[in-house]
Every structure is written in structure tokens, then in C-alpha cells.
């Protein structure tokens, strides 16, 4: 192992220049006649910038992973009370069905509240024009003959609700759409 002790500030500058001259070929290639140290310094600065960028990128990658895990924890945690209540409902499985259903309904409302709090309100409006930004067609059905029946191309029924507004959508509502009257 080769080490060299450098004596002090004044001699240091000289030592640094000596080092620059000792540097291997790559810089010498780029340098024109007589501007060796200026180019070498620029190259050094450039490399340091690239290295800083690379280190920053690595750090960012680690942070992103951490943040992602933390967010996942938070969201999962928000649903635990819902699960707890479902367990409770099952403990009363032998009871009067009407009472159980009422309890299940309350749990459903609780789950909806969790999703709304997380930013995903429920989407289940029928009797509106079909909009691919909000809906996904599952089947075409007859609109029906009633006065206020949905027109062709309008949503008849929401088979499965969607969650989230179009700009922050978790999933679209699955709907049936009125087919043309003659088809």
C-alpha cells in the first residue's frame, strides 16, 4: 500500500498539480496542447456532477421504496376496523338474520367511509349517458318501455359500483347499457 504524507497548505497546491500530471491517459487525449490542467479540472467537475447525480438517484430509489411501504401500511391499516367488525358479525351467525343484515349493512357503510376518506367516493349512478371515463360496459340490455326508461346508450343498471372520480379513479363502475330499440 502506497501512502504519501503531505506536509502542509503551501506545499499542498504543488502536490495537487503534481497529481494532476500523474493522472492516466484519458484526460491527456482530450486536452489540446497547453491546456492540460484546465481540461482536466473541467473533466473532474463533470465527473463529480455525474457521480452526485448517480448517488442522488440511488438515494431517491431507496426513499421511494420506503415511502411506498409506509403508504401501503397506512392504507391497509385503515381497513382493519372493517375486518374486525366482520369477525364480530360472524360471531353472531346464529342470531336473527334481520339483525345480522343490519349489522352487515353498517359494516358496508363503514367500508365506504374508509374509501371516501382515502379519496375514492363511490360511483353508482344509473340513468345517465354511458361515459367510458366513468363506466365499463358489461352487457347490453333492453332499455324497457316505460316513459322514463333509459335511452339507447344510457346506463340501465350499475352491476358493480366504481370508486374514485375520473381523475383519480380506482376502478370504473361496471354497468349494463340500453341497446338500440330495434336491435
Amino acid at each position: 500500500m502506497q501512502t504519501s504524507e503531505r506536509p502542509g497548505p503551501e506545499a499542498e497546491a504543488a502536490a495537487r498539480d503534481a497529481h494532476a500530471a500523474d493522472r492516466p491517459a484519458p484526460c491527456a487525449e482530450d486536452a489540446g496542447p497547453g491546456d492540460g490542467s484546465a481540461t482536466a479540472e473541467l473533466e473532474d467537475r463533470w465527473r463529480r456532477s455525474l457521480a452526485d447525480l448517480d448517488n442522488l438517484r440511488k438515494r431517491y430509489g431507496r426513499e421511494v421504496s420506503r415511502e411506498r411501504a409506509a403508504e401501503r401500511d397506512r392504507v391497509a391499516e385503515a381497513f382493519l376496523p372493517v375486518l374486525d367488525n366482520i369477525d364480530l358479525a360472524l360471531r353472531h351467525a346464529e342470531s336473527d338474520p334481520a339483525a345480522i343484515v343490519e349489522g352487515v349493512r353498517a359494516i358496508r357503510d363503514q367500508a365506504l367511509a374508509v374509501l371516501a376518506r382515502l379519496g375514492y367516493p363511490r360511483q353508482e349512478e344509473a340513468g345517465v349517458p354511458f361515459d367510458p371515463a366513468r363506466h365499463e360496459v358489461v352487457a347490453l340490455v333492453p332499455g324497457g318501455d316505460a316513459e322514463d326508461a333509459p335511452a339507447p346508450g344510457w346506463v340501465v343498471d350499475v352491476v358493480r359500483p366504481g370508486y374514485g372520480d375520473p381523475d383519480r379513479q380506482l376502478r370504473p363502475a361496471s354497468v349494463t347499457v340500453a341497446r338500440d330499440r330495434d336491435s
Binding site: 497529481h19 367510458p132 360496459v137 347490453l140 352491476v159
Partner: protein, 642 residues
């Protein structure tokens, strides 16, 4: 400045990647998805939809929703009559016999449809990157003929893109793995996507990639595997309940979703639950579907699908005149290659070669196209190979531990500084011991060099500020300097062999550190606790000196006893519980002593909040001692016994 991108224009899905900062990364679309369905829809009211939105209204608009248009691009109608009969929209010949898509009495060339997909990809990516996308590398299957390639290029033009190059999909996959940089090798690319299967044999090396042969099956993909599970579950349910779920659109959709999820799960676990409560109802009430699907069952019901890849692989190898032993590398492309049965077959057919899967198989073609785009734009140079420090670099500090200054795997060149201080009062010099390694104890690491910084002005411990800078240059040469911020005096050392360790040596040291991690950490905690106790004892002592007679006698006695105990605990390396106990007690004592105002007689009570006389005043020495313990940047240096 506009950005060049690489686009994988797939039959079922498309992906776009950009070359940025030395890496090719996939850009999500406006909906946040990394892949975009290759679907375009023309609605009743003249609206055009591309991607996920187009897929959602497919049932509503079968004649106006164009999917898998890649099957028709650059083809004559007579070449694709069979395909045309399998899609829900109308494919017709124009007056020259070219295949055209007929939508509401208007004829569209397939490249016009593809152009809409490309346009969405480019626009969304441009918004994401914050700059317009105007140039692209677009990939095509290796078996595409001239007409198909030209038509794809035209699609790019229609989309407003300058097509830098059309490259083959297997070639792009090879680029993603950097195989063009290798020496001469034979690569097999196995591409099992959503709807098509392609296998290619490539020759790579010396910056060139050459396609030797291709084969495939134009109607084999992940969707077929999903369908098998749907049928299996539906048939089972029908046997038990007499209802065919596939006849109910809503149940069928749930079944498909659940089947796809099950398929994906079975790639990582050997069995999964399919849970579809209230899937349907009959006269007796609601019915539920709960089934356990074992991986072995899944493999049974999809065995023939996997078998179908056998033929093309053998064909491609025969055409390229290579045997399983000649194949040096295998690349897996397409989500379905995640299926274990598929991977096993690939291994068998290629003589046991371990396939490359580290790049996301859904994205690898786009990533490779992105790299090609970067190369063509001159963004990729071979000067930019940056090294890293293989092992951490640091300094020996109080207690014989290593304090890291540069973490391992930091890209170089890099400069990092830490501020240290003295461990005893009036310490005249500091010993800088330069260490390399991952262990906590200095003695367990490698000493690269050492030097001294002398003539430090007499001062209480913890007060002098010694800035130690580690500078690793692009060649791995380490310059360590120590500078006394007070006097400006500086010393240094140059170590030129920090990175001459070979990889196995580095790995060994890292593994050793990993093995000893918990003991090392425990040791570190002990030493840190001891150092903290030592510093605290010192502060108490200083405070006692300051207060002189003002210190209440019984408090002084207690303090002195605790300080003695502390010194003993430190020198005897007492267990951590004892150390922490003493630390707690000394903290209490210090608090009490701080409350006492210097200059008052010792008769005053204990802990009384100082009244009028300058209780808040902190002497310079006091804050100096505090900064030794509290200032996170200042670390106690090695106690110099010289």
C-alpha cells in the same frame, strides 16, 4: 429539447420508454398505467378513444372498437382473411387489395389506427416528461416483411413522429440486457405475450445483433391461460349447482377477473383461493363460488398450451442450426413467461440455461427500444462508466469504533466531510486512522493509512473543530485531509489502492459483516452508551468546577461519587444496563447542578429554579461542552495516547 423514445407497439398492449440520465425507463400513460391497451374506438357521436377507455365500451360498440390491429398492418386482404373473420369489426380489401378497416362506411388503413395509439403514447409521455416527444424507435416482430415494416413506419409518421429506426422486438430485448456488448454469443428470445407467441435465435456481440431465425404461434398467449381457468371453475360449478356461469355476463366478468388473479398468484404460490360470494342465485337463494386451485391442477389444464411452444422453439433452433448446448443466453419476454411451467419448459429446451428475467418481461422490449433511441440520439456514451467505492471508508473514533464517512457503493468521484473533536482536555493532537470495511469495530476493518494533526490549541474536550474530508477521485485514489478550523492547520494523506480488492474479497467482507451484524450492532450500542456516559461525567465535572463553593455539599458529594462510578464503568467496560443506569442518574445530577446559580452560597435548596441572578447564563465553556455531546456533527476522535 425534444426527447427520443422507444415504443413497443404490441398486439394487445403497448409500452413507451425514454432514455434519461443513463437509464431507459418506462413512462406511465395519462391514466397512470405503464402499459396501454392497443385498442382504438370510434364512438357513435364521432369521439375517438384510445387505450383503456376504448376497451371499456367494446361491448357497446363491437364494430367500432378496433383491437389487435397489428395483425392487419401492411397486409393484403387475401393474406389475412382468416384473421379478419375472427374479429368483431369489419376488415375489407380496398381497390388495390390492401387490408382496410371499415368503420361506419369509412375505410381506414391499419397504420392510421396504429398511429392513434402511437399518438396517445407520445402525448402522454410528453406531458409526463415535461417536453414534447417527436422522435421514436418503434419495434416490430422479427418476421415482419418489408410491407409491414414500412406500414409501421408510416404509422409513426402519421402520428407526427420521426421514426429513427424500426428494430426487431427480440433485438430490443437483447439490448435491454446489454447483450450487444458481450463477446460472440447465441441468444434465444422467448416471447409469450397476451395473444401471440414468438421465439427467435439471435447472434450477438461486438455491438451487433443479428436475427438468425424466428418461429411462433400467432394465437397463443396469456388470455388462453385465463380462459382455461374460467372454464374449469365454471364447469365445476355447473356440476354442483346446475348453472353455467358463463351465460351470465356479470358472473363471467367476475370469473375472468378472478381467474387472471389466480393465474398470477399461482406463479408465486402453489395454491390459491378463488372467492366469489353471491356469484349467482337460483330459486333457493344466493350461490357462492369458493374453490381452491392448486398449481398442479392449473398446470394440468394448461399443459397443452405450454406444449404448443415446443414446436416453434425446436423449429427456430433447427433453422438457425443450433442445438440446446449452443444457446448461451435465454431472454424471457411477455407477462406469461412468469408462469413456472413455461419457465421450466424453456429451461428444458435450452439445456438448463438459467433465463434472464431481471428486466420486467412486460417492459423489456420497450426498455431496449428506449436504449436504441438513446444511442441514436448520441445520449449514450461509453465514457460514462462510473465506479463505486466497493467498501465503506471511515475513521476510528472514541471507543475503538469505525465512524463511516463514505458509505459503500457510493458512486465516485465523491467528496464527504465530517467534523470531529478531541476526547480529552487540552489534547494537543488527533490521530486520524483511515479505515475501510463494514464492521463496527475499528480493529475488524482494514487500516488504509494514518496520520496526525498536531498543534491543536489547548481547549476543553469536544471544543476543537477538526474537519476531516475524504475525497475519492475517479480513479479510486483517496485523499484524506484533516483541518483544524481554528488554526487553519491542515494535514493529509493519499491512498492509492482503495479499490484494488477483487470482487470475491469484497463479497467476503460484506458477508462477514452481515453475519456479525447483530453482535456488531450490540457492541456499537455499548460503545456509544459508554461514550455518552463519559461525556456526561465530564460535563458534570466541569459544572462542579464552575460552581466551586456554590454547589450544595451533598449534591457535590453525590455528583463526585457518580462521576467516579462512571469513570470506572467506562474503563472496566461495564455492561450496557449499568452504563445506562449511571447515565440516567448523572443526567439528573447535571440538571440539578445547572439549576444552581454560580456565586450563590451552597445553602440554597436543591433544584430551585434560579431566581433573579443570571440563572440562565451559560458560560462559553459550558456550551462548548454541550456542543461536544449534543452537536450531532461533532464526533469524538481517538484518544491520542502519544
Amino acid at each position: 429539447m425534444a426527447r427520443a423514445v422507444g415504443i413497443d407497439l404490441g398486439t394487445t398492449n403497448s409500452v413507451i420508454a425514454a432514455y434519461e440520465g443513463g437509464e431507459s425507463t418506462v413512462i406511465p400513460n395519462a391514466e397512470g398505467a405503464r402499459t396501454t391497451p392497443s385498442v382504438v374506438a370510434f364512438t357513435e357521436n364521432g369521439e375517438r378513444l384510445v387505450g383503456q377507455l376504448a376497451r371499456r365500451q367494446a361491448i357497446l360498440n363491437p364494430k367500432g372498437t378496433i383491437y389487435s390491429v397489428k395483425r392487419f398492418i401492411g397486409r393484403k386482404f387475401e393474406e389475412v382473411e382468416e384473421e379478419a373473420s375472427q374479429v368483431t369489426y369489419d376488415v375489407v380489401p380496398d381497390e388495390h387489395g390492401n387490408a382496410r378497416i371499415k368503420i361506419r362506411d369509412k375505410l381506414y388503413a391499419p397504420e392510421e389506427i396504429s398511429a392513434m395509439i402511437l399518438r396517445k403514447l407520445a402525448d402522454d409521455a410528453g406531458r409526463n416528461l415535461g417536453e414534447k416527444v417527436t422522435e421514436a424507435v418503434i419495434t416490430v416482430p422479427a418476421y415482419f416483411n418489408d410491407a409491414q415494416r414500412t406500414a409501421t413506419k408510416d404509422a409513426g409518421k402519421i402520428a407526427g413522429l420521426e421514426v429513427l429506426r424500426i428494430i426487431n422486438e427480440p433485438t430490443a430485448a437483447a439490448l435491454a440486457y446489454g447483450m450487444d456488448k458481450k463477446n460472440h454469443e447465441t441468444v434465444l428470445v422467448f416471447d409469450l405475450g397476451g395473444g401471440t407467441f414468438d421465439v427467435s435465435i439471435l447472434d450477438v456481440g461486438d455491438g451487433v445483433v443479428e436475427v438468425r431465425s424466428t418461429a411462433g404461434d400467432t394465437h397463443l398467449g396469456g388470455d388462453d391461460f385465463d380462459r382455461r381457468i374460467v372454464d374449469y371453475l365454471a364447469e365445476d360449478f355447473q356440476r354442483e349447482n346446475g348453472i353455467d356461469l358463463r351465460k351470465d355476463a356479470q358472473a363471467l366478468q367476475r370469473l375472468f377477473e378472478a381467474s387472471e388473479k389466480a393465474k398470477v398468484e399461482l406463479s408465486s404460490v402453489t395454491q390459491t383461493q378463488v372467492n366469489l360470494p353471491f356469484i349467482t342465485a337460483d330459486a333457493n337463494g344466493p350461490k357462492h363460488l369458493t374453490a381452491t386451485l392448486m398449481r398442479s391442477t392449473f398446470e394440468q389444464i394448461t399443459a397443452d398450451l405450454v406444449e404448443r411452444t415446443n414446436g416453434p422453439v425446436k423449429q427456430a433452433m433447427a433453422d438457425a442450426k443450433v442445438s440446446a448446448d449452443d444457446i448461451d443466453e435465454v431472454i424471457l419476454v411477455g407477462g406469461s413467461t412468469r408462469i413456472p411451467a413455461v419457465q421450466n419448459l424453456v429451461r428444458r429446451l435450452t439445456g438448463g440455461a438459467e433465463p434472464n428475467m431481471t428486466v420486467n418481461p412486460d417492459e423489456v422490449v420497450a426498455v431496449g427500444a428506449g436504449i436504441q433511441a438513446g444511442v441514436l440520439k448520441g445520449d449514450v456514451g461509453d465514457v460514462l462508466l462510473l465506479d463505486v467505492t466497493p467498501l465503506s471508508l471511515g475513521v476510528e473514533t472514541q471507543g475503538g469504533v469505525m465512524t463511516r464517512v463514505v458509505d459503500r457503493n457510493t458512486t465516485i468521484p465523491v467528496r464527504r466531510s465530517e467534523t470531529f473533536s478531541t476526547a480529552t482536555d487540552n489534547q494537543p493532537a488527533v490521530d486520524v486512522v483511515v479505515l475501510q470495511g463494514e464492521r463496527e469495530r475499528a480493529a475488524d476493518n482494514r487500516v488504509l493509512g494514518r496520520f496526525q494533526l498536531t498543534n491543536i490549541r489547548p481547549a476543553p474536550r469536544g471544543e476543537p473543530q477538526i474537519e476531516v474530508t475524504y475525497d475519492v477521485d475517479a480513479n479510486g485514489i483517496l485523499n484524506v485531509t484533516a483541518r483544524d478550523k481554528d488554526t487553519g492547520a491542515e494535514q493529509g494523506i493519499t491512498i492509492s489502492e482503495t479499490s484494488n480488492l477483487d470482487q470475491s474479497e469484497v463479497d467476503r467482507m460484506v458477508q462477514e459483516a452481515e453475519r456479525n451484524r447483530s453482535t456488531d450492532q450490540a457492541l456499537r450500542q455499548e460503545i456509544d452508551a459508554r461514550n455518552e456516559l463519559d461525556a456526561l461525567a465530564y460535563q458534570v465535572q466541569r459544572r462542579l468546577e464552575e460552581l466551586g463553593d456554590s454547589a450544595p455539599p451533598h449534591e457535590r458529594a453525590r455528583a463526585e461519587m457518580l462521576v467516579a462510578d462512571a469513570h470506572q464503568a467506562v474503563s472496566e467496560q461495564a455492561p450496557i444496563d449499568r452504563v445506562r443506569e449511571l447515565t440516567g442518574e448523572l443526567q439528573g445530577v447535571l440538571g440539578g447542578l445547572r439549576a444552581v446559580s454560580p456565586g450563590t452560597s451552597g445553602a440554597d435548596g436543591d433544584g430551585a429554579v434560579g431566581g433573579g441572578q443570571g440563572a440562565g447564563a451559560r458560560t462559553g465553556a459550558d456550551s462548548g461542552a454541550d456542543s461536544g455531546a449534543d452537536d450531532a456533527d461533532v464526533i469524538d476522535a481517538e484518544f491520542d495516547r502519544g
